[in-house]
Point group: C2
């Protein structure tokens, strides 16, 4: 197989609304902020040739300061860009800053447990299908509710998946999707959804149950536990 | 308010297929099996007047042995019954063994972190609406997939909830639902679904994110962490 260029856009411009005012991405974990942990994990994956991080205005200042002082892992990041109000705005800003490549990964800044194995599985599926997202079975019963909290439906759990990042795309496909999506972008909670709306087939590949996203303070004890176990293995 | 009789059916007849052969309900946690932990938590809630446990044939033998030796908490359980192949069969067996009461809670044997606050919130909602289930927001993006793993839809996450137990019902309502449901029972992954199919309104109340169910070995570290924290508070 020919040499493949793989870029990653790290989405790190969120407002951490569910963290009760804490900026989760800058929470220190053994001396390194959560976002730094995520970048360290990505930069250690040899398949990835370029890393771009989309940040809030405040986050951008902090990250630029760390990079100017040549602090690892910030010294090895390809570009730092300012994201937007919506997730899709941040992804687009990141895509614009990325050199042309064959595949692009979109990854949450708050998922530091990403592994080389997960990235390889995503690339293999994206080579075959163009768009590939990691998915894990849903263990809870999921209900659909109305605005008053009454149940309106119980979807068949066997057909549901909880999806994670990195979501992996052929670069030209995702660029095209962002260029043509227009305002529909704002309605999309992930990048796969943008392609789904344009009628593209999006495949899933097995995610990693440990690849959790820090959304609320209640996620931190589990994250720390998994990080410790990951370090024990290596 | 008049004195209210509240029964609980603990569903503990599962085959633990996702535990890789381990019977999760009998896993020792600080010297007490997981199921014993759940029973201890329920028996400490003053609103509950009777506790019935539906077990597998093997579990029933173990539980009867513990009760015959007056081991706590088994000595305080109202009835031990054999459950069935499907969850609904176990609930029905438990309902048959329960004395008539005003409200009945159906609770998973593998959820030892149930609290008095959760039971009280459930009873308050069930008094108003007849059927009440604890629900928490869904933090992951959920996708619907086809049999080949391609995405077919992204349901609006804001309208989805992950549901837990205890599910709380007016006793007569749940008895009626089980008596009339017939074979539709087997299609229901929880008790609320049985009522939904019969056209009853089922309300939700806020669940507790810590009230996790042990489904796979990966859940155990988090469970132990939460149990330790719960003990530290008490």
């Amino acid at each position: 197989m020919a040499y493949e260029r793989v870029g990653v856009v790290v989405v790190a411009a969120g407002s951490s609304r569910r963290m009760g005012g804490l900026d989760k991405l800058w929470l220190p974990l053994d001396g390194q902020p959560l976002l730094g942990r995520t970048l360290t994990a990505l930069l250690a994956i040899p398949e990835i040739s370029q890393t771009v991080v989309a940040l809030s205005a405040d986050g951008l200042r902090r990250a630029e300061d760390l990079r100017s002082r040549a602090e690892p892992p910030w010294d090895r990041v390809g570009a730092l860009v300012q994201g937007g109000a919506e997730r899709a705005d941040s992804v687009q800003a990141g895509l614009m800053a990325l050199d042309e490549c064959e595949f692009v990964l979109i990854h949450d800044g708050a998922r530091p447990l990403v592994t080389p194995e997960l990235v390889r599985a995503g690339l293999a599926t994206a080579r075959e299908h163009g768009a590939a997202i990691p998915a894990v079975p849903v263990t809870d019963t999921i209900k659909r509710v109305d605005a008053r909290g009454f149940i309106t439906a119980t979807p068949d759990r066997a057909m549901l998946r909880a999806v994670q990042t990195p979501q992996v795309f052929r670069y030209d496909l995702l660029r095209h999707a962002y260029e043509t999506a227009g305002r529909a972008r704002a309605l999309c909670t992930d990048d796969a959804m943008l392609l789904e709306r344009l009628g593209y087939a999006v495949a899933t590949f097995p995610g990693d149950p440990r690849n959790i996203k820090v959304s609320t303070p209640a996620d931190l004890p589990l994250l720390k536990l998994y990080l410790r176990e990951q370090e024990d293995v290596r």
